[in-house]
């Protein structure tokens, strides 16, 4: 019955093979899209069904537990939502659309494997599987502007990505050198003995660096704005939401190496969090392109998530999981609007949302909810997440950090609000109405509802997250 444990991954792998076969034929891209979307929805339900499974595979390098299954559910769910609302791939070149779906699913498969990996080398392999698929997605955008900015973005992404991976590998070599093992389960007790030594801290910090890159935390953030801008809207929607889940999952796993206390590491993370928040929020204030704005907001949110990691406690980790779940939903809501408003897959300036309330009332509402939620205004999920992060950090005594984070909330509200203002308080002038497919309407209503429900009743998700985290500590 061991195969049952591996069933979600197997299903995704088979899906990839199916789509690979489709790339050989001449099927229309909309059919491929429908097939991919259907496969991803099935994968989501399979993950839901295997939520409570538990077990070890592949010489204990691969662990199935609530923690990994929770993230798998979110990852496949995010991909399914993304595929359902990005109707036709407007920004992707006609002749590579089928391949696009292949790499998208491969990247999701990599992430799904990543969250289950509990051995350094399998972590590395899974991470690279997901990353390389992503590197390919970025330059697949059509060259409508003639500036080849998607190539620039692709090169930036892969160069920074490879460097970050190198940093991570270097850190892994430290961990292996210190302990002689690559299994996290054996590393945890060994590292607890060694945590005071500088080499151990350097090792952990460097390994974390690889995931900081995925999360877009300062100073590993340089790729974010350019990649967000250069990649097509759908690709950005994926990069902005789903891989960050994997990054947080692995940051939590690595942080358990340092638990229960590691003052130096915590100080380091604190500095990065504060720098990230201020850098992201201050630069987002002056952005004109909405994807760039969301990129900088993403950098700031990476800083907030770190607030949960530095507590090095199960409640803090659970809050970080809750927050990143909410963040994915809020981001998906915003990108749903962006993908649908963009007529030919071009980038949107914030001013292109002018009069959106008349052109597409539902999209304007979804965008407003997404923005207010990102800003951390109740009753949305962003507030509850931020509240619990601040409360958790203050419980550990990081008062200054909490005050700085609170101030950042006040800074960030301006740029989120100006998006709402543009879409609600201006007349559309000559801009055309936006047609929204019924399925997209359902998804956007669903996202709004989940964002509100998770914000008002966080207990269910937090409980699962807490149970999941307790399982790995």
């Amino acid at each position: 019955m061991k195969m049952a444990l591996f069933f979600p991954e197997l299903f995704l792998l088979l899906s990839c093979l199916v789509i690979f076969l489709l790339t050989l034929g001449r099927m229309s891209s909309s059919t491929v899209r429908n097939i991919t979307a259907a496969l991803s929805v099935i994968a989501f339900f399979i993950c839901g069904g295997s939520l409570r499974l538990e077990g070890d595979l592949f010489f204990n390098a691969y662990r199935i537990d609530l923690f990994s299954q929770f993230f798998k559910l979110l990852i496949t769910g995010g991909v399914a939502v993304l595929l359902l609302f990005s109707r036709e791939l407007k920004g992707i070149e006609e002749n590579v659309r089928t391949e696009y779906y292949l790499f998208l699913l491969l990247s999701a498969l990599g992430l799904v494997m990543l969250v289950s990996s509990v051995e350094l080398l399998s972590i590395f392999v899974a991470l690279e599987l997901s990353s390389y698929a992503l590197y390919l997605l970025v330059p697949m955008r059509d060259d409508h502007g003639g500036l080849r900015e998607q190539m620039e973005a692709g090169i930036k992404y892969i160069l920074f990505g490879v460097v970050a991976t190198g940093v991570m590998l270097f850190g892994m070599s430290y961990l292996f050198g210190l302990t002689g093992t690559t299994y996290l389960s054996e590393l945890v007790p060994a590292m607890n003995q060694l945590i005071a030594s500088p080499a151990a801290i350097v090792g952990i910090a460097l390994v974390m660096g690889g995931f900081f890159f995925k999360l877009g935390l300062f100073p590993f953030h340089f790729w974010l704005p350019d990649v967000y801008q250069g990649a097509s809207n759908e690709t950005t929607a994926f990069i902005a939401s789903v891989p960050k889940l994997g990054a947080v999952a692995l940051l939590i796993r690595v942080a358990t190496l340092a638990a229960p206390s590691a003052a130096t590491l915590v100080n380091l993370l604190m500095i990065l969090a504060v720098a990230s928040m201020f850098y992201g929020n201050l630069i987002a204030l002056v952005q004109k392109d909405i994807k760039r704005m969301l990129a900088f907001s993403g950098i700031a949110h990476a800083g907030y998530v770190i607030l949960g990691i530095i507590t090095l406690k199960d409640t803090g980790f659970a809050t970080a999981m809750y927050y990143i779940t909410g963040y994915m939903l809020m981001n998906l809501a915003c990108f749903l609007v962006i993908c649908n408003v963009s007529a030919k897959g071009e980038n949107l300036a914030i001013s292109d949302l002018t009069g959106l309330y008349k052109r597409a009332p539902l999209l304007a509402f979804t965008l407003a909810v997404g923005m207010f939620a990102l800003a951390g205004i109740p009753p949305f999920v962003g507030f509850m997440g931020k509240f619990m992060l601040l409360a958790g950090a203050l419980r550990e005594g990081y008062l200054t950090l909490v005050i700085l984070a609170a101030i950042n909330t006040a800074i960030s509200i301006y740029y989120y609000l100006s998006v709402v203002r543009i879409s609600y308080c201006t007349d559309p002038e000559e801009r055309p109405a936006v047609a929204v497919a019924p399925l997209t309407q359902i998804i956007s209503i669903g996202l709004v509802l989940i964002i509100i429900i998770m914000g008002v009743m966080p207990a269910a998700v937090v409980d699962i997250a807490t149970a999941a985290v307790r399982g790995i500590m």
């Binding site: 409360a391 101030i407 909330t409 006040a410 609000l417 009743m457």
Partner: protein, 512 residues
């Protein structure tokens, strides 16, 4: 287990009903396609809410300072966050004021709002839910969520249905109030760390260190002073008022501003009594500054709405003055003055809105001499203006008198400094009244103006009733608050007796 709460015995959860009825009222608005039907529906639901709230007054136990009609449900067990509702003598009248005003807000928007009517009504109803919730909640997280969530509908009210500078005004409003309350959240969490609970009553009367109290008080103060708004945090108010639609102005002036002063009463005084006493002199002087400043700026306004907005700064100065003299007269006067300001200023904003609907201008010069053609209108305007300047026989007289009496018992200098504010109020209100009723020899042609119709009279009549009722017989309104106010003074008094040296400092700044 909850010794601060008397559980609800009415047989139905009246407070939850009040909070969620408006929210439930939004759902038909999503389905209805007809704007007229939507207006009637909203009017009916707000009236129903007003009726549902009446038992609060009649069944209210005036002999206890505990929180009544209590409801308590676990909400987020992990953080010990509960859904706790309850009201006492301080919040009772504010809740009734809110439920009274909402139908009038719908009525006064009947013709004023012509575009996107249904979203407008939905915003009003969501506002009502969060406003009532703020006054009822006894859990700090619940309070904060509603306190912040209110910004969204209020922002939309100004930003979508506002005047020409709505974008500037709405963003200023949002940023100002949000920036004020982010540190409130930190203070709330800090209090949670000390007590292990988010229950507001359980945070009161604890033995916090002086330094802790001062930090918490400052965070509270920033949030509430911006909301009141106290001088010098008032600059968002005239902008927001001038641009907001009539109903928005009414809600803003009558209810939202009260949340600041309610915050002082509910949180600052009982939770951080020692710090309240430490900062008392500064707040008293800021109140005086607000009274004088509001008066002088109102005197100089040409725009009627701005005039009333600045007069609000002055009136709210009286309220904070009354709160921080820490005696029964002062605080009761302040609470009554909160209600009075809600009634009177709300009515004045409705009156300005009526002129605006007719002339499409709020310029005092353009509204000169309408008395000849709108006799009923100026009768109402006359009464409410007199009420605003605290003329004997009207509601504000009682409130202001009590506040001043309280201030005189506390310290004569402060009270003496507040007197010019009362004179200024007479000056700017009478100036407006004179101009609008009679004008001069060069009045613009007003002959096209029609007088108030039945709907408009119905909108104003209940407010006029309360102006005279409170003015002539304040007893029924005062006796609900006695016990709670005395309890509050005891809570502060515990710290007052504390020989911490803080009181001496206070006495240095204010000579007795």
């Amino acid at each position: 287990m909850h010794d601060f709460l008397i559980m609800n015995t009415l047989g139905y959860p009246i407070l939850s009903l009040l909070v969620f009825l408006p929210l439930a009222g939004v759902i038909p608005l999503l389905i209805l396609k007809n704007d007229e039907a939507a207006k009637y529906w909203t009017l009916v639901i707000t009236l129903v809410i007003a009726v549902v709230s009446l038992p609060l007054y009649f069944k209210f136990d005036r002999t206890t300072a505990l929180y009544q009609f209590g409801e308590h449900h676990a909400w987020i067990p992990m953080w010990d966050i509960n859904y706790t509702l309850g009201i006492d003598g301080i919040s009772l009248l504010l809740i009734l004021l809110t439920t009274l005003l909402m139908p009038l807000c719908v009525l006064c928007s009947w013709r004023y709002i012509t575009t996107r009517v249904r979203p407008f009504l939905a915003c009003l109803l969501i506002m009502e839910t969060s406003m009532l919730g703020v006054f009822m909640s006894l859990d700090f997280v619940l309070f904060y969520i509603l306190w912040e969530a209110m910004l969204i509908p209020m922002y939309l009210l100004i930003a979508i249905w506002g005047g020409p500078r709505k974008v500037y005004a709405s963003i200023k409003f949002f940023l100002y109030t949000l920036a004020g309350s982010v540190l409130l959240l930190v203070a709330i969490i800090a209090l949670y760390m000390k007590n292990g609970t988010f229950s507001i009553p359980m945070m009161m009367g604890q033995d916090y260190s002086s330094v802790f109290q001062i930090y918490v008080f400052l965070a509270f103060f920033l949030a509430f002073a911006i909301k009141v708004p106290m001088f010098p945090f008032h600059t968002w108010l005239p902008a927001a008022h001038v641009e907001a639609p009539t109903a928005g102005s009414v809600v803003l002036a009558s209810v939202l501003l009260k949340m600041g002063t309610y915050g002082f009463l509910r949180f600052c005084l009982p939770i951080t009594p020692e710090a309240s006493i430490t900062f008392m002199p500064f707040i008293l002087w800021l109140s005086i500054a607000g009274i004088i400043y509001g008066g002088f700026t109102a005197l100089a306004q040409q725009d009627m709405k701005k005039l009333i907005a600045y007069s609000s700064v002055g009136h709210m100065g009286f309220v904070t003055l009354g709160i921080f003299v820490f005696n029964a007269q002062g605080i009761e006067g302040a609470i009554l003055q909160m209600i009075n300001h809600g009634v009177t200023t709300g009515a004045l904003f409705i009156l300005v809105g009526m002129i605006y609907e007719r002339t499409h201008s709020r310029e005092l010069a353009l509204a000169a001499g309408v008395g000849k053609f709108m006799p009923v209108y100026v009768i109402f305007l006359g009464f409410f203006s007199l009420s605003s300047l605290a003329f004997p026989g009207t509601n504000s007289f009682i409130g202001e008198f009590l506040v001043l009496a309280g201030a005189f018992t506390k310290t004569k200098i402060i009270a003496a400094c507040a007197i010019p504010g009362a004179v200024l109020a007479a000056a700017y209100m009478l100036r407006m009244l004179q101009k609008v009723v009679w004008g001069g020899t060069d009045n613009p042609d007003q002959s096209y103006l029609s007088d108030l119709n039945i709907r408009e009279i119905i909108t104003l009549a209940p407010l006029l009733l309360f102006v005279l009722w409170i003015g002539l017989n304040p007893g029924p309104f005062m006796d609900v608050m006695h016990t709670s106010v005395n309890h509050l003074i005891q809570q502060v008094g515990i710290a007052d007796a504390d020989p911490q040296g803080m009181v001496e400092v206070a006495n240095l700044v204010i000579p007795q």
